[in-house]
């Protein structure tokens, strides 16, 4: 799949933003006043910024409101509804924390649940696609959720939980890569089933329909960047999980130093997740590529 910057930005930022909102909704940290304001500002900037970025890849963004109508069948529609509901509920909860010095616990829990539901619905947009075997696995939602919760814990400064959640997310990442590499072969779809000619012999793509490129090739067949996939995996894993873990576990004592390290851990994690998301798209083989003798 074509790794569109808008979609990578969206899933990375909003995943983190909703992860932070999840922790804030659970009262972690139970900040009020100005401190609370800063936390909510960061969470909303990430979540809303991500959502806005995602509209950049629409052909007709001015009609985006229609995307709320098909919740019965469409995960994309459900995602839109969950995101707006989570932002509204958490906005109300934030008002209480920032201005009234109070935490409305039940509302916070509802907001936390909606925040996670948003991340889950995002992941299901990809998971549901049989046409992309690498995504069509239960590990996809597990990965999105574990990343979002680990990143949220880092941002929320949940010192005791964050190391465990980061370790878990890292393990899920490794499992996802290991499973994904065999997914297309395991799906049973190849040029033989695509053309229905497999029983007659070995099928080879002889000539594409046109000498030039087209929408399908640009959108679904992305071979160029895959060359460096293994190196990028190492980078993603180091930045996303190993470095942040080392930084938050480092035995330092100064208040400033601790906060600088925590901020660096967050930045490193964000960069790592962005690289992982780039790979998530760039490495995903859409079966339509088979018709062109590519993957």
């Amino acid at each position: 799949m074509h790794p569109a910057p808008s979609v990578i930005l969206f899933t990375t930022l909003s995943g983190l933003g909703f992860g932070l909102l999840f922790f804030l909704g659970l009262g972690q940290p139970a900040a009020t006043g100005t401190v609370a304001f800063v936390f909510y500002l960061i969470a909303y900037a990430l979540a809303v910024g991500g959502l806005l970025a995602s509209t950049f890849h629409l052909g007709r963004p001015e009609r985006a409101w229609r995307a709320f109508t098909q919740w019965k069948t469409s995960w994309l529609s459900r995602e839109g509804i969950c995101a707006v509901a989570a932002l509204l509920v958490m906005g109300l909860y934030a008002l209480g924390a920032v201005f009234l010095d109070s935490h409305w616990t039940l509302l916070g829990w509802l907001g936390a649940a909606l925040s996670l539901a948003t991340v889950f619905t995002t992941s299901m947009i990809y998971t549901q696609l049989k046409t992309v075997p690498r995504w069509n696995t239960a590990l996809t939602p597990v990965m999105f959720l574990s990343f979002s919760i680990a990143g949220g814990a880092l941002l929320a400064g949940a010192e005791t939980l964050a190391p465990w959640l980061l370790t878990l997310a890292g393990a899920v990442q490794l499992a996802y890569w290991a499973k994904g590499d065999g997914a297309l072969a395991a799906s049973g779809t190849d040029l033989a089933t695509a053309t229905g000619l497999g029983s007659r012999g070995t099928v080879r793509a002889f000539e594409p329909p046109h000498t030039g490129s087209n929408y399908l090739l640009r959108e679904f067949v992305h071979v160029v960047g895959r060359k460096h996939a293994q190196k990028l995996r190492v980078i993603a894993f180091a930045l996303g999980f190993v470095l942040p873990l080392l930084m938050i576990l480092a035995p330092v004592h100064g208040f400033v130093l601790k906060h600088v390290l925590a901020a660096l851990a967050v930045l490193s994690h964000m960069a790592g997740i962005a690289v992982s998301r780039w790979l998530f798209f760039a490495q995903a083989e859409h079966v339509v590529g088979l018709y062109y003798g590519k993957r």
């Binding site: 799949m1 890849h57 629409l58 052909g59 007709r60 963004p61 009609r63 985006a64 229609r66 995307a67 709320f68 109508t69 098909q70 019965k72 069948t73 469409s74 995960w75 994309l76 529609s77 839109g80 947009i125 549901q128 696609l129 049989k130 046409t131 992309v132 799906s187 049973g188 779809t189 040029l191 089933t193 695509a194 053309t195 229905g196 000619l197 007659r200 012999g201 070995t202 099928v203 080879r204 793509a205 002889f206 000539e207 594409p208 329909p209 046109h210 030039g212 490129s213 087209n214 929408y215 399908l216 959108e219 679904f220 859409h286 079966v287 339509v288 018709y291 062109y292």
Partner: protein, 265 residues
């Protein structure tokens, strides 16, 4: 062009209109590609735009494309050295019964009609998110870069019921155009229709059945052509020169040329 309804798939459709494509007959001339683009760029919905059409990197929106594949049969006892076969392979929307492109659509723009099973896009509601093209295994949907909306085969819904056209033209443009007669149009839900009989007789197949899309369009497999020499043999007498001994002027010329140095072959 109804819109605003849920993109749920109908449980069943009254008819299953679709195409039967004969891979034995298709000669790969791409006439259907051109006639499809010609009809559909000036009728239903937004035109099918081209980008950089006369430049170095031309591309454009097509609803029907013809691939070519080579099939190499494995050697066996009767065919120790089998010849490879070239198969031309037209591909457009298969109007699937279980169309994944419809259910993923967040706006309700994609829908499947209850009356004839045709899968359409209401271009006034489409936001161009592209998810339906991601969901289609066959590459049957293309986002038009100029209009920003999704384009796909309409089964020429604006021809097949169009009483302003002479009756013989009330079939999809590609079917009407194909000079080889490789494309057939009809109701695949009716077991007595010509297309259903053709599918039964020739063992029509589904593309990527494992995807669970239940395509309506069927493909007729090419007949085996692995005995090329044997097939050519009955034609051999016809391939001989008609007159071996020429008379008259040609005969004189023949003899005169024979006498020249340099020999004959």
């Amino acid at each position: 062009m109804e819109g605003g309804q849920m993109t749920e798939l109908p449980n069943s459709t009254d008819r299953k209109m679709g195409l039967v494509i004969d891979l034995d007959t298709c000669v790969g001339c791409h006439a259907c590609v051109i006639s499809c683009k010609g009809w559909n760029t000036e009728n239903y919905g937004a035109p099918l735009s081209d980008q950089d059409p006369y430049g170095a990197d031309p591309s454009g929106t097509f609803l029907n494309r013809v691939h070519s594949y080579e099939v190499q049969p494995a050697p066996c006892e009767s065919q120790p050295d089998p010849a490879a076969q070239l198969i031309h392979f037209p591909k457009s929307c298969l109007h699937c019964e279980d169309a994944p492109c419809v259910t993923v659509c967040p706006t309700g723009a994609s829908y499947k009609r209850t009356e004839d099973g045709i899968v359409l896009v209401n271009e006034d509601h489409c936001i161009g998110c592209g998810l339906c093209a991601w969901a289609c295994p066959y590459g049957a949907r293309e986002l038009d870069l100029a209009a920003g909306v999704m384009k796909k085969c309409t089964l020429c819904v604006d021809r097949i019921y169009n009483e302003n056209l002479p009756e013989e033209d009330r079939i999809p443009s590609c079917v009407r155009t194909c000079p080889a007669g490789a494309r057939h149009f009809g109701d695949l839900g009716d077991p007595d229709s010509d297309v259903s009989k053709l599918v039964a007789e020739r063992g029509g197949i589904d593309l990527m059945p494992e995807m669970g899309t239940k395509p309506v369009n069927k493909y007729l497999p090419p007949r085996p052509k692995d005995q090329i020499e044997a097939q050519a043999a009955p034609l051999a007498p016809l391939l001989k020169p008609v007159a071996e001994d020429a008379g008259g002027f040609m005969g004189w010329l023949d003899k005169a040329l024979d006498k020249l140095p340099g020999g004959t072959n």
